[in-house]
Amino acid sequence: MAKYLLQRFIYMIITLFIVASITFFLMKLIPGSPFNTFQKLSVVQQNLLLEKYGLKDPLPVQYFNYMKSLVMGDLGVSFQFNNTPVTELLGNRIGPSAILGLQAMVLGAIVGIFLGTISALKQNTWIDYGSTFIAVIGKSIPSFIFAGLLQFYIAVKLGWFPVMLWKGPEYTVLPTIALAMFPISIAARFMRTEMIDVLGSDYITLAKAKGASFWQISVKHALRNALIPVVTVMGPLAVSLMTGSLVIEKIFGIPGIGEQFVKSISTNDYPVIMGTNLLFAALFVVIILVVDILYGIIDPRIRISGGKAK
């Protein structure tokens, strides 16, 4: 196991290095400058600024300098947020996004797995159709419409929750629901398909023949095995939820990282683009490792460390 983890860790470092390099050169292809006032400055003033920030150096030199400071743990400073260190910016912004993403993920997984399971168990009944309907709605309605509706009817009309902002647990309810719609539909669909598949397999028939109860069969034997595909998709989905949703964060006024990332690209804020991308990539490789380890726990048939079969 330790050897396996070490090996994976080395792969992760290599992956991040490649991601950093590709991002660096891709973002330098975006035309434009990172300074807000370039339109107003004279050519002399522009050149002075570019020189001060080392943006006039040849690209390979800039790349080398960036990589050198990256290894030292220095991600540079943001242009749009006036020299705020990128690490500080990410630290301040990732919190709300991560909390919201986790809540949505947990809600989405619980509701989705529940819906998928009961539709599989009650296949082709109104329960099945009902939960499929919810899944289709969740997948096909854009989140900004759903968020807008929640905000208008639940917050403005009924006044049950605050309209927007991020000041306490009650403020997280509506955005969490809005954000959870997508994972709900994904989890429900995968769960239903896989569950039906598993329920038709030989060992379930055997369990039935042995006289195991309905609940024993569905929970102990079927559900656990049917979770594999759900875990596979939910891992990467968790990363994308936790790294912020531009739309939900904007509508509910949440100080998250989603909007920041998009804005950093459109404003050529190079250090922030690099920092956010690396953070997302790092989360991603970690989650994939976690998913791989989870496989082994959920389904003992899968061996991760290639150990000797008993």
Binding site: I30, P31, G32, S33, F35, N36, T37, F38, Q39, K40, L41, S42, V43, V44, Q45, L48, L49, K52, Y53, S78, Q80, F81, N82, T84, E88, L89, N92, R93, G148, Q151, F152, A155, V156, G159, P162, V163, M164, L165, W166, K250, I251, F252, G253, P255, E259, Q260, S266, T267, N268
Partner: protein, 566 residues
């Protein structure tokens, strides 16, 4: 079959009704300009009418990039600095320049290149230090010092404050800058040349004082968050976690020399970037002042409501025509393009937010001389005229020896610019037979980049003023200027604008006339640019909030005169 036709009809009528709704909304917008009289004309007479809790909730549309006055380049920074700090002068509710940190208006030498400013002796920093002339000298020198990496320092001072350009380029010492402290409360400012608008110019946040002892003690942490700031204005910042914060709090500053005139005790400001969500929060009573709302669909929900405040802001938008393109070098082609856009339909039906059609460069309600708007006494230039346009177009084409013309049009990538750009394309292609326009919607920064590189035929752009004088717009198109970038050159226009900058600096009326003539040459005689519209601001303000003041440049608003009624 029958069914599908019916549903098609239904869809069509739905689309049509949406369009009609948009039109009728646009019509209503006309003439509802209630500019600069909200609140002020209803003075609070009895103290008893004031609400017990003088606390204001405001939404802003962006974070504050910096609270260091010499580094600010952004309206959020300017607005907050204007509330928390104070310079020599500030804009009052009627946009007049009034003494703030200064005792009186400046005294000038004979050729108006030297200003002497007497500072008031009761102005204090929040730590108890007096605000002295040395604080101004320190801040100005810091702004121009190349080590500070200020963008606006060289931009604002260059060519205006003595030796600023040389210092920015490292060819002179910061001590040589044209600002000296004669004693603790007397400042002497030396200019490169007389500047008619100098008084409004130095209200800008860049020219605010900074407490040297405090700034140097904080070092790199200065202005990093609320704890590392020092107020000398009507409010102090008690909560702000730095540039990424989406929430900040201003509280009344009791050590401010004018504290007795400040009624508000607390302002809670939060960032909301979604206009509909802001409107929802306003309806739910969670906010008293929303950010600017530009979308017609949202504004229409409040059309006719007393909560909706609308005024013209001095931001002007126009189409640039790159004369590097042989076809656009032709005056008839340019005039034809200028004459064939129905700007009124654009602002009323497409934008539908109260913006006004512009056939001028210097905005309305922006620059005044003896109380008279710059726009008074000027005729509209090149109003739409389809027949004339077609005639000039055909003449231009035959001069070029072609029958068709294909041009690219670089526009913005926002919803608003996409609809207005396709409207303009439709107008031009319909009215000018043989014209083929390709719209290229690009993000803001890329548009600037293409403009700088002159990589466009037509380009949609805009400008907001940096000081209250027509010059902030009029010097943009000087031959070889940094903002021209369209190969336009007119000796006559250059002569008039340069005269207004130099010889006529002290002769207000003649200078005004020269600038108006230059504007006519630029837009009517040469059709160098096609002005399109002047933007209007729409915001929602709780009717209990009185004394809200908005400004044409620098900060968007002042909060210090606000009172909350019962």
């Amino acid at each position: 079959m029958k069914k599908s036709k019916l549903s098609l009809l239904l869809v069509l009528s739905l689309v049509l009704s949406m369009f009609l709704a948009a039109c009728s909304g646009g019509d209503k917008n006309q003439g509802t300009d209630t500019s600069k009289n909200e609140g002020k004309d209803k003075p609070v007479t009895e103290e008893s009418k004031l609400a017990d809790k003088q606390e204001l909730n405001v939404f802003e549309s962006a974070e504050i990039p910096t609270m260091d006055s010499v580094l600010g380049t952004d309206v959020m920074s300017f607005t907050t600095l204007n509330a928390v700090n104070e310079g020599m002068y500030r804009l009052d509710q009627d946009q007049k320049v009034v003494p703030a940190g200064a005792e009186a208006m400046p005294e000038y030498n004979a050729d108006k290149t030297e200003l002497t400013v007497k500072l008031r002796k009761d102005a204090k920093w929040a730590n108890g230090d007096p605000v002295t002339a040395h604080d101004y000298v320190y801040a100005w020198q810091r702004a121009i010092n190349p080590e500070t990496k200020s963008e606006y320092g060289p931009y604002f001072m260059g060519g205006k404050v003595k030796n600023a350009d040389a210092i920015a380029e490292g060819k002179a010492k910061v001590e040589d800058l044209g600002i000296k402290a004669e004693d603790d409360y007397t400042l002497k400012i030396t200019l490169e040349r007389a500047i008619p608008y100098i008084e409004s110019f130095i209200t800008f946040q860049l020219f605010y004082p900074q407490n040297q002892k405090f700034v140097e003690a904080q070092g790199a942490d200065y202005a990093k968050d609320a704890e590392h700031l020092l107020s000398n204005g009507p409010f102090k910042m008690t909560k702000w976690q730095g540039p990424t914060a989406t929430e900040w709090v201003l509280e009344k500053n009791d050590t401010y020399h004018g504290a007795k005139d400040v009624t508000l005790t607390k302002i809670n400001i939060n960032v909301s970037k979604d206009p509909q969500a802001s409107a929802n929060a306003f309806n739910a009573g969670e906010v008293d002042i929303t950010p600017k709302l530009a979308q017609a669909a949202i504004i229409q929900q409040f059309e006719g409501s007393k909560d909706l405040i609308r005024y013209q802001e001095p931001s002007l938008f126009w189409i640039k025509m790159n004369e590097k393109n042989k076809a656009l070098k032709n005056i008839n082609i340019r005039k034809a393009i200028a004459l064939s856009i129905d700007k009124k339909a654009l602002v009323d039906d497409v934008l539908a937010n109260g913006s006004i059609a512009a056939d001028f460069l210097v905005p309305k309600e922006f620059a005044f001389l003896d109380g008279k708007d710059f726009r008074e006494g000027t005729k509209p230039y090149l109003e739409m005229n389809k027949e004339e346009a077609k005639k000039l177009w055909e003449k231009g084409l035959s001069e070029l020896g072609v029958k068709e013309l294909a041009l690219n049009y670089v526009g913005g990538d926002t919803e608003t610019s996409k609809v207005s750009d396709s409207f303009i394309k439709n107008q031009l292609e319909t009215n000018l037979p043989g014209l083929k326009l390709t719209i290229q919607p690009v993000p803001f920064k890329i548009r600037i980049d293409r403009e700088q590189k002159m990589d466009y035929d037509l380009l949609f752009t805009g400008w907001g003023p940096d000081y209250a004088d027509p010059m902030t717009f009029m010097d943009l198109m000087l031959t070889g200027g940094d903002h021209n970038k369209m190969d336009y050159s007119s000796a006559e226009y250059d002569k008039l604008v340069k005269a207004a900058q130099t010889d006529l600096a002290a002769k207000d009326q003649e200078r005004w006339k020269a600038l108006q003539d230059a504007e006519k040459i630029l837009i009517e005689d040469d059709a160098a640019i096609v002005p399109v519209y002047q933007r209007s601001v729409n915001l929602l303000i709780n009717q209990k909030v009185q004394g809200f003041a908005h400004h044409a440049f620098g900060p968007d608003y002042s909060y210090q005169w606000i009172k909350i009624l019962k």
